[in-house]
């Protein structure tokens, strides 16, 4: 699947601004962006890619059990990530590393997750309201909707003040749109008119299954059937991702009801480090999308605006340091205490589990062998 007529784009693959009737409602959001903000877009996309490549290497070297790359999807994530306001809450799937970086998440926590030290890794409160990753596809979209229902109950949306009104954004993939939960989330969101943006990253594949198996009609149309306005954007264009997300987030936080964005992008890497894309997709296809790479496209745009080599060199250097830092801290990560297995299950005391914990401690003490490290 490639772009349709309906696909909104602010930056051509060559990096030129697209001014048309279709883009008119979105250009103003971009015009408001300062040079520094535009530089930030580039900077985070590059940092994210560096983190991603480092993650892939670390996994290859056995430092992580699995790695889930975001390679190729940086524009969709960075644009929407910068469109959020501080008070907004994000319910990601498991690939939104760039959004985590934007929200101030220390990404070593993502490493902790994929290294097998934790099933989560962080709490949203301390990390820019960036919630933890969810592995059961689509189930988090209902959590996002419920959270947004709570925002409404608290009267924290629709007051007309964009600096305090809260919005919720949830990310999910093309394959996940087939899950009952995602569709039920659309039902509840429409029914309760939640302040919520559904952000679909259509990266063309659900592991080895093409999006055409999930739907024969563009997925942004799905939302309309539930009474939710939806649009389709070029997900490799960071500017439209920003502008469309900013527009929809501010509409939904203002009380206009939920919104839906389908960002057409491409998973340039494997689904995860365990995957072998050569079994199901062609080099031609990958090459086609490589030519649409979000970072080089935006770099051309910045250069066309007069941005010079120094900036790009500095960002590259920072990215190298960033990777280096991650690598160093990764190999230093210890193993979690045995108590994690028991103490985190319930918020209140649980005699049965306490007993089992006690038994294991006694057993471990008695038998030197067995246990961690083995």
């Amino acid at each position: 699947m490639s772009y349709t007529d309906a696909t909104l784009q602010l930056l051509s693959p060559a990096g030129a601004l697209v001014e048309s009737d279709a883009t008119a409602p979105y250009l103003p959001f971009v015009e408001k962006l300062t040079d520094d903000e535009l530089r930030e877009f580039h900077r985070v996309m590059v940092l994210t890619r560096a983190f991603d490549l480092e993650g892939t290497n670390l996994q290859r070297q056995g430092q992580m059990g699995i790695w889930v790359p975001s390679l190729g999807q940086e524009a969709a994530q960075v644009g929407s990530g910068f469109a959020m306001r501080p008070q907004d809450h994000i319910f990601p799937s498991y690939r939104e590393h760039a959004v985590g970086i934007i929200r101030g998440l220390d990404v070593i926590n993502i490493v902790r997750l994929f290294r097998g030290l934790t099933h989560g890794g962080w709490v949203p409160e301390e990390n820019g309201n960036f919630h933890i990753y969810t592995m059961v596809l689509g189930s988090h979209t209902l959590h996002a909707t419920g959270y947004a229902m709570g925002v409404t109950l608290d009267g924290k949306a629709g007051t007309g003040n964009p600096d305090t009104d809260e919005a919720v954004i949830t990310y999910f993939g093309d394959g996940s749109t087939s899950q009952g939960d995602v569709n039920e989330a659309l039902v509840f969101a429409a029914s309760y008119q939640t302040p919520e943006l559904f952000f679909l990253q259509n990266n063309q594949w659900a592991i080895s299954v093409p999006v055409s198996r999930q739907s024969r009609t563009p997925l942004y149309l799905r939302a309309g059937g539930f009474g939710i306005p939806g649009i389709q954007i070029d997900g490799n264009d960071v500017l439209i991702s920003y502008a469309a997300s900013r527009k929809f987030l501010d509409e939904t936080r203002a009380g206009d009801g939920p919104r839906f964005i389908e960002a057409l992008t491409y998973r340039m890497g494997a689904h995860t480090s365990s995957d072998d894309p050569s079994k199901y997709r062609t080099d031609e296809e990958t090459a086609h999308w490589a030519a649409l790479d979000p970072i080089s496209r935006f770099e051309s745009y910045l250069r066309s605006r007069g941005e010079g080599d120094d900036f790009f060199r500095d960002v590259a250097t920072e990215a190298a340091d960033f990777s280096e830092d991650i690598r160093r801290r990764t190999v230093e990560l210890g193993v979690p205490p045995v108590s994690d297995m028991f103490d985190n299950v319930y918020s209140e005391p649980h005699p049965q589990l306490a007993e089992q914990k006690l038994w294991l401690e006694g057993y471990e003490a008695a038998y030197a062998q067995g246990g961690v490290g083995e």
Partner: protein, 327 residues
């Protein structure tokens, strides 16, 4: 001095829910037909009128959506109480309950809590159609991260629902629907015992009978009949299915040497299996007879006209008592 009031369980639950909503405005009710209708069993009757439709929500018709959005509301600081209309309709929500609700605290390394209560009218004896008479407790009692309780009296119903709502952990609250209507004394001043405790419903010396929910009244009936025949039977009300409070059970078994467990659910891989296995292990030297289980058969709950044959009744319990005594 304590204020006793005679109420049917449905009204006791209604009073308990009202109290919980008055005490904490973060408490919400969600479900199908719980608003103007007051629930198909009228357990939420009048609550929407009193607290408004923002705190007592008739939701879209989707159980996964109900539990999934309740989770999001809990993350926002609310304490949702979800009503599942009938036992057999909890399964569309099973993924949200087992992979999300039960595990989110653990997934967050214990740093968030999930105070969500899921109320489920369960069990037979009401002659209803398929999916309306089941006892799904085993599915939840096997799932780490959940707490599972079931009251057998109006008094316990009034207090246990409030304690469940106060719990910072997810609680599956099983309401024995055939007990909604019989009245019982409710002490509005004091609960008398903690949420997760087994209670002695009747003291006896020769055999211990254990059950929960609607089975407790069947066991008490069996105890009466046994008494007529000169057998002294102790009856325990399990109340908490997860975690299980074993001390009173073991204490009773050490005294009587015999245990019969009764439950409506299919017997295989059931709560009864767990208790039988654990008691057989921990009271190995005290048991004079094997722990016997009287359960629903390992078949789907039958059509209404056959339910009396499926459900354990006093006679079937007594048959097991006789077998236990024969050892």
């Amino acid at each position: 001095m304590s204020a006793l009031e005679s109420l049917p369980m449905a009204k006791a639950l209604n009073a308990g829910l009202r109290k919980a909503m008055q005490d904490n405005d973060k408490v919400l009710m969600m479900g199908e037909d719980i608003g103007p209708l007051g629930g198909v069993f009228r357990v939420t009757e009048g609550l929407q009128a009193e607290f408004g439709d923002r705190r007592v929500m008739d939701t879209p018709l989707a159980e996964s959506g109900i539990v999934g959005t309740a989770i999001g509301l809990a993350m926002r600081g609310y304490r949702p109480v979800c009503e599942i209309q009938f036992d057999g309709f909890v399964f569309p929500a099973f993924d949200q309950i087992t992979t999300q609700l039960a595990k989110l605290t653990n997934r967050h390394e214990g740093r968030i809590s999930m105070p969500v209560v899921i109320r489920i009218p369960y069990g037979g004896h009401i002659g209803a159609v398929e999916h309306h008479q089941e006892s799904p407790e085993a599915y939840f009692a096997h799932t780490p991260g959940l707490r599972v309780v079931s009251p057998s009296t109006p008094h316990d119903a009034y207090w246990m629902i409030q304690e469940a709502i106060l719990s910072d952990d997810p609680v599956i609250f099983l309401e024995p629907k055939s007990r909604y209507w019989p009245k019982g004394d409710v002490d509005l001043e004091a609960s008398g015992r903690p949420l997760h405790s087994t209670a002695v419903a009747r003291e006896g010396t020769e055999v211990t009978l254990l059950g929960h929910g609607a089975m407790v009244s069947v066991l008490l009936q069996a105890a009466d009949l046994a008494a007529d025949e000169g057998t002294s039977v102790e009856v325990l009300d399990l109340r908490s299915l997860s975690p299980i409070d074993y001390d009173p059970i073991l204490e009773s078994v050490r005294k009587t040497g015999r245990l019969v467990i009764a439950q409506e659910a299919p017997g295989s891989v059931s709560v009864g299996s767990e208790i039988a296995a654990t008691v057989a292990e921990r009271a190995f030297y005290s048991l004079e007879a094997p722990v016997l289980r009287v359960s629903g058969f390992d078949a789907p709950f039958p059509p209404a006209k056959l339910e009396t044959l499926y459900l354990p009744d006093a006679d079937r319990v007594l048959e097991a008592v006789d077998r236990a005594l024969a050892y």
